[in-house]
């Protein structure tokens, strides 16, 4: 048999021994033990205490008073510290102090200034006061805004474009400083909500509640109109009656009316402290031109600080050297001790030194890198669901063998979200409180089989909703007493959707036998407006049409872009629509307000997209929102839920179940859907991660050798043909 090397040498003599060497090297390489070549991080970082994760979308705002998005909270939650936080382990969700010394208690006063009881009538409450004491000696992260010279003068508070000539990033400032957290920093931040250039999304809401904030906003607007300079307004010069400093570690917030949900806002970054030095520093002339803004470079007291903000590639959080330290919780809910999540109880946090978040716009690369060990945790997209999860005979989700072999763990949790189908109650056909329309909506509620939807389109990751309140939030009643009797009946140990015959019977009562108008004989045509378009949505649209077709109703899908969809919702020209809501805080008020009449989209541009109005419901809402969680409040909630179920302004849809995966070296994983500051609890075992990465990512060389051999095999006949052509004689 002919030696292929000889053939190569014969036809490509100039290459000498190179082909043999190349083949030998490649063959040798296949047996070598290498550090991974596909490691996207520097090899020297492998043993470091670094947490790796990805983010799909660049954050828009990092100014805590402007940010209102989960993908921004991933970073902000670790940097800024509002007075309160959610307990990491306890369920139902429980507020605990963060920088505050204790949970503030609302104190109520009547118009005469006399104190009132907590359960007093909201109409009698004239003022509500929260006095918040913060822990002493908390320090800000190192930052040039605090840097001072030997005489105590701020080093970087007199900047101008000339001095900034060689400054392109915050790290270009040579000197940094720090200072103690003061109560005034919280008051300053509340004042910033009213700043006309900051655009706080909750400014409108807070102006209704915080004493004097509305007037303060108007005053600042007037000042801003006259201001032609850099735009810095020294907020310390102004008094805000609703936010007042008592002493260095105590401040007081005064509300104009009873609003028990206010305390939840104190755990959000809107109420994080803002040092005036930072606001002034970033407001100096030339800073914005250099892209050095508070919206880009946060400054906080939290366990981490943003050391690299490159949202086009990666965001890097590093341990804040000035962080005071915090003890890992020593108690949780039942089962936490057995699960091992309390192993770190009492230990000082944070556990990790650095967190690197890489931008991954596409889910497939992100998923594959998780499987290679380059991300410590991952969600599961639909494309990868079957590879990761399977359902056992009991219908429970469990990991596939491939995942188990890698030591990957699965966490599931019902989210505090609702995905619903809304009916426009202002619509002549589907809306209104008439018996006809109500029966029509209830018939559709039965016909649209959300159990099937969850199974087909959400890989089983959802829980059919029985009302507006998701599980885990006060007011939600699990089991038989909590089912929606208009749509479900209890059979055995589970809720079963009522039959399509019952729905058809309701449709007959509504005046649409077999989906046709009993007077005109015409088929009922309904329109669903959707921002989803393209082939990806076709399957779900077809499914929806089939659900309505069960009743003989012709559903027309009016797909449009999101802008036009929003416009239709605002103007009330949409008939049926699908939407969702993610809880701001774990209180039923945060869901019921989506159906509160004075929040109707058409009339008030509020969040009530269905434009639902029911006087009794609105009255109960006002009563319920001022009550603390108690059996009395549960009674009111039950009445409200009953009204909603009867009127059926929404198809209640489902509450998504979040599935997340993490590797075995990732510790203290427990889903907490309310807390934004969970990075400090996470612990990594870098040694185990390095071992697994190395084992899973050994480079495979033989394909390269194969490609070269194939190329040679393909070229050989051509080379032979060429030589023959060159040497052949004309005659």
């Amino acid at each position: 048999m002919t030696n292929p090397i000889k053939i190569i040498n014969r036809y490509i003599p100039r290459l000498g021994n190179f082909p043999q060497l190349l083949v030998c090297v490649l063959l040798l390489c296949t047996g070598c033990d290498y550090s991974p070549w596909n490691n996207p991080y520097p090899n020297e970082d492998s043993a470091k205490n670094i947490y790796y994760d990805s983010f799909p979308e660049r954050p828009k705002h990092l100014d805590p008073v402007s940010s209102y998005s989960a993908n921004e909270y991933v970073f902000l939650g670790q940097i800024y510290e509002p007075p309160l936080q959610y307990h990491f382990l306890k369920r139902p969700y429980q507020l605990i102090p963060l920088t505050a010394t204790e949970l503030p208690r609302a104190r109520y006063f009547n118009k005469a200034g006399q104190p009132l009881e907590e359960d007093s009538d909201p109409a009698d409450v004239y003022r509500v006061k929260y006095t918040i004491s913060i822990k002493p000696a908390l320090l800000y992260q190192p930052h040039p805004a605090f840097a001072k010279n030997a005489s105590g003068k701020y080093l970087y508070h007199d900047l101008d474009p000339q001095k900034l000539e060689n400054i392109h990033a915050l790290s270009d400032f040579d000197t940094v400083g720090t200072r103690k957290l003061l109560a005034n920093d919280y008051v300053y931040q509340i004042k910033r909500m009213a700043h006309p250039r900051v655009h706080s999304p909750i400014a409108g809401l807070m102006r209704k509640y915080i004493l004097g904030l509305d007037e303060f906003a108007k005053e600042l607007s007037e000042i801003e109109k006259d201001d032609t300079t850099s735009g810095y307004i020294d907020l310390n010069r102004f008094e805000l009656p609703g936010a007042r400093v008592v002493d260095d570690t105590t401040f007081e917030i005064t509300l104009k009316q009873k609003y028990p949900q206010f305390i939840y806002w104190l755990s959000m970054s809107f109420f994080a402290p803002m040092p005036w030095e930072a606001d002034y520093f970033y407001s100096q002339e030339g800073m914005t031109d250099k892209n050095i803004t508070l919206d880009w470079y946060p400054v906080g007291t939290g366990p981490f600080m943003l050391s690299e903000n490159n949202p086009n590639r990666r965001m890097v959080l590093k341990r804040n050297p000035n962080f005071r330290g915090e003890a890992y919780p020593s108690e949780g809910e039942a089962g936490d001790l057995e699960s091992g999540i309390l192993e770190d109880a009492g230990k000082n946090m944070p556990f990790i030194d650095t967190a690197i978040y890489s931008l991954e716009k596409e889910s497939i690369p992100a998923w594959n890198k998780f499987l290679q060990g380059y991300y410590d945790t991952s969600g599961i997209v639909s494309d990868s669901f079957d590879q990761a999860v399977q359902f056992n005979t009991q219908g429970d989700a469990e990991l596939t063998d491939e995942m188990r072999e890698k030591g990957i763990n699965l966490q599931t949790a019902v989210t505090t979200s609702s995905y619903y189908m809304g009916f426009n109650m202002a619509d002549e056909v589907i809306g209104g409180n008439s018996e006809r329309a109500t029966l029509l909506r209830r018939a559709i509620s039965i016909a649209v089989d959300y159990e099937e939807y969850i199974s087909i389109f959400a890989n089983g990751r959802g829980e059919p909703a029985q009302g507006p309140i998701p599980p885990g939030i006060f007011g939600n009643i699990p089991g038989e007493p909590g089912i929606n009797p208009y749509v479900y009946e209890w059979q055995g140990d589970k809720a079963v959707r009522r039959s399509i015959e019952e729905a058809k019977a309701l449709l007959v009562q509504a005046g649409y036998p077999n989906g046709r108008n009993k007077n005109t004989g015409k088929q009922l045509v309904l329109n669903l407006d959707s921002p989803a378009a393209g082939p990806g949505s076709k399957a779900s649209f077809d499914w929806l049409r089939k659900q309505y077709a069960k009743l003989g109703i012709n559903l027309v899908i009016r797909a449009t872009d999101y802008n036009r969809f929003q416009e239709k919702i605002r103007k009330g020209t949409a008939q049926i629509f699908q939407w969702g809501w993610n809880a701001d805080y774990p209180d039923p008020e945060n869901f019921f307000f989506l159906l509160y009449g004075p929040n109707a989209k058409i009339d008030h541009n509020g969040e009530n997209a269905a434009n639902y109005k029911n006087a009794e419901f609105d009255e109960l809402f006002n009563q319920m929102k001022s009550m603390s969680n108690s059996p009395q409040r549960q009674d009111v909630i039950n009445k409200m839920v009953e009204i909603l179920r009867h009127d059926a302004p929404w198809l209640w849809g489902f509450h998504p179940v979040g599935f997340s995966l993490h590797h075995e070296w990732y510790k203290n994983a427990k889903p907490n859907l309310m807390a934004n500051n969970t990075l400090k609890y996470k612990r990594i075992e870098p040694r185990l991660r390095t071992e697994n990465r190395t084992a899973w990512n050994q480079p495979i060389w033989w394909p390269i050798a194969l490609v070269i051999i194939l190329l040679i095999i393909m070229l050989l006949p051509a080379i032979i043909s060429y030589r023959r052509k060159e040497t052949e004689s004309i005659l």
Binding site: P36, W37, N38, N39, P40, P42, R58, K60, Y68, S69, P196, R197, H199, P201, I202, A203, G204, L205, T288, D289, K290, N291, T293, D295, N310, N312, R313, S358, L359, E360, K361, E362, I364, P365, A366, N368, K369, L371, Q372, Y374, D561, N563, Q566, E567, D584, N605, E607, N697, Q698, P699, I700, W701, P703, I704, P717, A718, S721, Y722, K725, E726
Partner: protein
């Protein structure tokens, strides 16, 4: 030649104004300033006052193209179009709707784009010319026929398939390079291997066929027959005559795309998480950031016009018969 170039530059202005108008009209047909404000301010709890304020700060409260309420020349100048367009002509891109300096962002993001497109162009030229020349050399033989069939097959496959397939095979299965990501300096090399390779393989089909056609056309010319009649070898004819003359259309084709290399690739950058100008544009479209969209469209137009002028100049350099008048 200088007067020709100056004339071409003068012609560019009406083209750029036209491109700007079309961009404005298309963008504002799909997105209203209210939509843009909502996108920037967030979807939850945004009130009308905040939207008005946002528009006022960025000048989006003015009419788009014609201000009926203004006086005299201000009917044109006091519009979103005019206010946003004039500075573009001195390459002052201004600030994005989210507040960032667009010029700075472009200067930062063009390097990752170039890190992909420049090696892709050079290696692609080498490979495609080699393949095209090989097929032309073996014209009519089984090598040529099978090569053309392979090219047609490769042309027919979606570019997305090459990206996902490349990531799966080379990154995930063979573990040879990172699946996606980017780094600075020399560390960028390992991240650029896969996107360059994928771009190279994805372009083999169409480019090889194009180069083959160019070389075949040259090989049928009289001077080739004369060279062969003089007794020159096939190799000498191919490399010294056909290749050199075939380079004229290749060169002009390459020069026209040279400036556009800055713009990067939209899909490749998105899939490989390359922080270049391609993903910058895509992000801006998704975020309805008109300031970035109009800047990138303007920049693309300018670079294309520069490319066309350079092409004309390159004609005179490679073919002495051509004169620019």
């Amino acid at each position: 030649m200088i007067s020709y170039i100056l004339r071409r530059i003068a012609y560019a202005f009406p083209i750029l104004i036209g491109v700007n108008i079309i961009t404005f009209v298309l963008f504002f047909v799909v997105n209203t300033p209210d939509d843009m404000a909502r996108m920037q301010l967030g979807m939850k709890r945004v009130d009308d006052a905040a939207i008005s304020k946002w528009k006022e700060e960025r000048g989006y409260d003015k009419p788009i193209l014609w201000n009926q309420d203004a006086e005299a020349i201000e009917k044109i100048t006091d519009t979103i179009f005019f206010q946003n367009s004039v500075k573009l002509f001195i390459f002052d891109f201004g600030r994005s709707d989210s507040g960032r300096d667009i010029g700075y962002d472009i200067s930062q993001r063009m390097w990752p784009s170039l890190a992909i497109t420049v090696p892709g162009l050079i290696l692609g030229l080498l490979a495609y010319i080699t393949f095209g020349l090989t097929l032309a050399f073996f014209r009519g033989s089984y090598v040529d026929v099978s090569g053309v069939i392979l090219c047609v097959v490769m042309m027919s496959i979606s570019g997305l398939f090459y990206i996902i397939g490349g990531q799966y095979l080379i990154g995930k299965f063979f573990h040879l390079v990172p699946i996606s990501g980017y780094d600075t300096g020399f560390n960028a090399i390992k991240f650029t291997v896969l996107p360059v390779l994928v771009g190279l393989v994805g372009g083999i089909g169409s480019s090889t066929r194009w180069y083959r056609t160019i070389f075949l056309e040259e090989m049928g010319k009289d001077y080739v027959r004369t060279a062969k009649a003089k007794g020159l070898s096939e190799t000498r004819v191919l490399y010294h005559h056909v290749l050199m003359n075939g380079l004229i259309p290749i060169l002009t084709g390459v020069v026209v795309i040279l400036p556009s290399l800055f713009i990067g690739s939209l899909i490749v950058e998105s899939f490989f998480a390359i922080p270049g100008l391609g993903s910058y544009t895509i992000d801006a479209i998704s975020a309805q950031d008109f300031a970035i969209v109009r800047s990138m469209v303007f920049l693309g137009s300018v670079l294309y016009i520069i490319g066309l002028i350079l092409t004309d100049i390159s004609y005179t350099l490679v073919d002495p018969r051509v004169r620019l008048n």
